[in-house]
């Protein structure tokens, strides 16, 4: 029993915690939870908690279903929205095989492996996500089958509705109480759309925080009689929900992306990182944009990037180098705008970082930055500039990922295989569905 574990047990005792939730994530990024009585926690630390892995999407093969959950005591947290009546807490878990080896299918382990690879190259990876989501009146769509935004007022002017304001304040408080620092929050452009930025942290912590964040947002919305969704594109006519993420690499305490005298203060390392991300952007898209619906966002206009390019402070580029104070070399970073809010953060960060590191390792050359608005270019112009499109559908994305050695090595062969299988099933299901759009378009016309 180490000190951290002791601390957890003592807190459970002192705060009279009634339930301890063990959290982990399946391959598509759904949070899974097992509740333990306090008396069972000690055994979970020493031996792990056995569970049937085959019931979890993409975790293990059916015929070897025994898996162990090993709680990570450093992630222990009392869940604030459960109130003081029956205090409930959570810990993130690593998933182990019965041989006590890290389970190859555990997304958290995938990201951890990638960060270890970065550490071997001398880098620590930091990420800073801006998460967008919609607040709806309820989970139920209206009579036309459309979701109903909770807050139409905010869309037209800057005086946001009271409900949304309260709700946002409550959410921020909850997040702070759960130990997650929030950097900035504001209304996005769609009706009922919100954005909350999580503060800079190392990539694994950020990914854990995103999982907690989604839960907090949903819980708080429910408490206010509303519903929150991270669906990539709930409305055809409004912008989708992105999870723009800023990436930076540190060597010890210096920002490896910063070079004082270079163009845009971008170091060679940063240029190679961007080159890697762009070079592999198409093959990682199935992971960063994993649902059928994700492609409605990518290709649905708004500020979504549908083409592979980079630019300095260019909001139409897939990868953007933001302006920052010239004196603050420490804050040099690269913003990847492809990821949507429904991505599995562990896998999405792993593939983006993996692609960037590949660029550094192989010394990729970075193309010219694009200063024009990529959306307003004609197809021929884009061709002339060498700007290629991202996959147009989940199906395209799967095909591109299938041939990607990079994604296979980042995810590991087992997750790679499980993920592709899962996505193929999704596509197969979607393909046979007749949508209201089709009925509306064709029923009468033909």
């Amino acid at each position: 029993m180490d000190r951290q574990q002791e601390f957890v047990l003592r807190t459970i005792e002192e705060r009279d915690v009634r339930f301890v939730r063990l959290w982990f994530t399946d391959v598509v990024g759904s949070l899974k939870s097992v509740a333990l009585a306090p008396a069972e926690v000690e055994a979970a630390f020493s031996e792990g908690l056995g569970f049937d892995g085959s019931s979890i999407e993409g975790l293990s093969r059916i015929f070897e279903s025994d898996m162990l959950l090993k709680p990570d005591p450093s992630t222990f947290q009392i869940l604030p929205w459960r109130g003081d009546e029956e205090p409930t807490s959570r810990m993130f878990c690593d998933i182990l095989t019965p041989d006590q080896e890290p389970a190859a299918g555990d997304p958290r382990n995938v990201l951890r492996r990638q960060l270890d690879a970065a550490a071997e190259m001398g880098f620590t990876c930091y990420t800073h996500p801006e998460v967008e989501f919609y607040l709806l009146d309820s989970e139920q769509p209206d009579a036309n089958g459309q979701p109903v935004p909770a807050d139409r007022a905010g869309y037209f002017d800057h005086i946001t509705g009271k409900v949304a304001q309260d709700l946002r304040r409550h959410t921020v408080n909850m997040l702070e109480a759960a130990g997650i620092s929030v950097e900035f929050s504001h209304n996005e452009v769609g009706p009922g759309q919100n954005e909350i930025d999580l503060r800079y942290a190392d990539a694994l912590t950020t990914a854990d925080n995103i999982m907690t964040f989604r839960t907090v947002v949903k819980e708080v919305a429910l408490a206010h009689g509303k519903f929150a969704t991270f669906m990539p594109k709930p409305f055809s006519e409004h912008p989708g929900s992105a999870m723009h993420t800023h990436f930076s690499l540190f060597e010890g305490d210096t920002n490896a992306f910063y070079a004082p005298n270079a163009e845009y203060n971008l170091s060679t390392t940063a240029r190679q990182f961007i080159a890697g991300v762009l070079h592999h952007a198409a093959e990682i898209t199935a992971v960063t944009n994993q649902f059928v619906n994700s492609y409605k966002r990518l290709w649905g206009g708004g500020e979504a990037p549908s083409h592979i390019s980079w630019g300095h402070n260019n909001r139409s580029a897939l990868t953007r180098v933001p302006l920052h104070k010239p004196t603050k070399g420490g804050s040099a970073r690269v913003e990847f705008r492809g990821i949507d809010s429904a991505a599995n953060p562990y896998l999405a960060y792993a593939v983006v970082i993996g692609a960037g590191l590949k660029g550094i390792q192989e010394g990729y050359e970075l193309s010219e930055p694009i200063s024009e608005d990529v959306w307003s270019l004609t197809t021929a112009e884009r061709k002339a500039l060498g700007i290629k499109p991202l996959p147009g559908t989940l199906h395209d994305a799967i095909r591109q990922m299938e041939d990607s050695e990079l994604v296979a090595s980042v995810l590991g062969e087992q997750v790679f295989d499980n993920f592709l299988r899962n996505k193929q099933q999704e596509w197969d299901g979607y393909r046979v569905n007749v949508s209201p759009y089709e009925v509306q378009q064709y029923l009468g016309a033909v």
Binding site: R3, S74, D99, G412
Partner: protein
Amino acid sequence: MAEPAARELIASGFQEIERAQAFFQDPQLAGLDAGELAGLLKHSPDPDQALLLLIRLCERAPSAREIVAHGGECAVGLLRLLGASQALGEFLIRHPECIEVVTEARREDASAQDLREVFFAAVDADAEAERPTAALSEDFTAEDAGLRLRVAYRREILALALRDLTAEDPLAYQPLASRQLADAAAGVIDAALAVARAEVQARRQEAEQVDLAVIGMGKCGARELNYVSDVDVIFVHAAPDGLDADAAQTAAVDLAAGISKVLGSARGEPGLWEVDANLRPEGRDGPLSRTLDSHREYYARWAHGWEYQALLKARPIAGHAQLGADYMAAVEPLVWQSSTREGFVADVQAMRRRVYDNIPASHADREIKLGRGGLRDIEFTVQLLQLVHGRVDESIRAKDTLTAIEALQVGEYVSSADAEQMSRAYRQLRLIEHRIQMTNMRRTHLMPEKEETLRSLANAVRPPGESRRATGEELVSLWRSTARDVAGFHERIFYRPLLSTTAVLSDDEVRLSAEAAQARLSALGYSDAAGAVRHIEALTSGVSRRATLQRRVLPAMLGWLADGVDPDGGLVAFRRLSDSLGKSPWYMTMLRDSSVAAERLATILSGSRFIADMLEHSPEAAKWLGDDAELKPRSFEALWTEVQNSLARHEGEAETAVRLVRLIRLREVLRTAVAEAVGVIEVDAAGRALAEADRVATLGALRVAEEEIFAGEGQKTRFLVVAMGRQGGREIGYGSDMDAMFVHRPVAEDPSGQQQAEAAQQAQKLAQRLRQLLSAPVKPAVRGEYPLQLDVDLRPEGKSGPLSRSLESYEEYYHRWMEVWERQALLRARPVAGCPQLAEDFQALIDPIRYGPAPTASQVREIRRIKARVESERLPRGADPTRHVKLGRGGLSDVEWMVQLLQLQHAHEVPKLRTTSTLGALNALIDEQILGPYDAGVLAEAWTLCTRVRSGNKIWSGRLSDVLPTARRDLEAVSRWCGFGPGQASEFEEHYLRTTRRARQVYERLFYED
């Protein structure tokens, strides 16, 4: 001065006589007696160098001439110093005032306290103050203080070197020199802190409240430092509660960094050595200094195994004494708990492997520290024993190696003779190392190569006053013999005592308690340590020659077995083997005399149930381990001759004869398995060797069956056995069946219907008898055999067809009824036994069929459809296709169907493709540019890997399995069989999945392509 005679100079050890004679004329030496000076220089390790330095020194410090003129010990000391160390000679020339040290040098050894006072005086700080601070001023800046401190340090080192070089017994003096070097380093760091403090406090007032303690690690911590070495340290700081933690942190880091600045500055006097803080928590990435709580938390939560091992030598050396003591109290218990931690065994094994890693090959034979038989070997053995036994026995928790050796001897973990020898070897190597470093005051552990450097070194390691000068060779041979002793220590000291819990002991052997022996065995990786102790007892007790030899052999065996996947199983197998072979005179002798054979045996026994089981029944095969020629596959001709001879000797005794044939096959299977296990042959050679063994057995059994049946009814038919499938391609694995078809032809020319029927009847009998002879139990049983099963399902009409058909019947069938998959199967048909003429005719029949025109589009479609059906139907229920080596994704069947389809399409025009071998066909496909080299390479790699995994399953467990194991230990065993290192099972799993995924990609792209 008179010029000394050349003979005199040669006797004194000069190498460049003319130059020396010229130097003797130098005005600086005026007034000195040439003969006396030459006589004094005889004691110097390098008289040429000493003379030149002396002349330069006299110019700067005239008193040097007087010292030499005076003669005696002081003169000898000075000249030995100038000959042994160019760097210290230069220092004297830079700082002539330090010459007085030479005459004072006979004073007592310096205590830690003495040194500390000298250094604090140099920087004008009060050594007794709570936070000593150098009294800096405009006239005495931090740089001035640093300069004075570095000079004071070198002056002390100079004094020490003089004492060291004039010691009557340098070996005995070595630990004292090391201790003083460590104390000097500690004192100089402490005084440098006083300078840094004065400087930092001037900038940051809060630093006045911050305490810093410096913890020495490694050799400095253990007080066994070298002349020149990085000094490993860890910093810990404390500040009053009122002070902001970040401000305290910054101040502490400034103080810590200030120490390096003071010691490393080169202004006026070169910097000393690196103060290396990389052993701190989080290494380079961690903060330079931490608070006590932060350290405590780190070690409790995050530290790796090696970090605890590093703490074994930690000791507060400078700064705040109480804080240092608190640090030790916090971390020390953790060190001794570490051996109960998870992963300790793996750490220990990693440590053992690391010993010889990281030495550049070009230096390996010059390394004094890291090479085989180097200092690291001794330190490693000692630390390992401390970690294993120190948890329960506090008396052996000494920090430095020599004290630890003594404690281990007192505690009876090491015999007194061994302890004495180990201690002596350690001091000998350290002494050589010290003298090498002293030469240029550089950090090096390499034995020099140049003859003149070696010569000077040889004289420097000896005490003064020897009448004859030593040669370089003497030093090298002394070093080599010491290294040889050291290389044997680990085995003798770590493993040998495991045997002596009950064995008869000679006088100087130690008796380990049962608990201590079990602790050691557990640390090695034996999971049933108590059981292991019992087996060791059984093997070594008694006074027989056998037991005596076992006591010699077993210590090393225990180590090698422990490197295997299953040490416990290996030890049991070794005991069984030894029980059945113990009386054979060659067995123990071979293990004693051939460490290659013994190591191979250990590797096999702890890594393969299959071989261990076979060896138990055929123990004589162990003999091959010592002889690579014996492990080479026997040629078909040699085997066939042997079988024929056996048959001839036992004509008419079918049972006995066929038993001999099967024994020969078993022997060859074992030979192949052992050869592949120890890396004498590769997987394709193994496949061929196994196929030949099966062929010889089939030939022999067929000969017996024919004699038996023809004797009764006369020969009615000629008979042929045709191997199909992987047997046809000579690509089989251990325990494979033989896919076969039988062909016959009546003996009679132009046979009547009656004759044809009789021939057919006799052929069925032969086929049945052949299968029976090869696989039915015989008496006495062939123990350990996996009998050869003939699988005849591939014949025309499958199970409903007759066992054997006549050649004509085949002809008719193939021309009238044949399905395209049967044509495909014929690609691998190879006659293996029976009538040669019939074999030729059969081949003439099938060649135009299998290598005929390319299949039609509809036939190709049929092949593709069958393949798809096989894939979905034959895979066992619930099996994971990604892990099934035969039918799974990118497995054997994908590759083989791909290759066979291309053979069907191209063999009629490309003769090179007419082969039964998959790899052979793949090579031909590349040569003929039908497949790109990448695609063919991917397929070949997957095919070879799957074949190896299949063999690996059988070899490890003794059971046939077509699935890549999931249980970690099974996977580990298979991964090692496939050439991966220990602990790389996960990498291997990834490798397998990646290789087969790529093969599947190639297959999907090409197999369905028109």
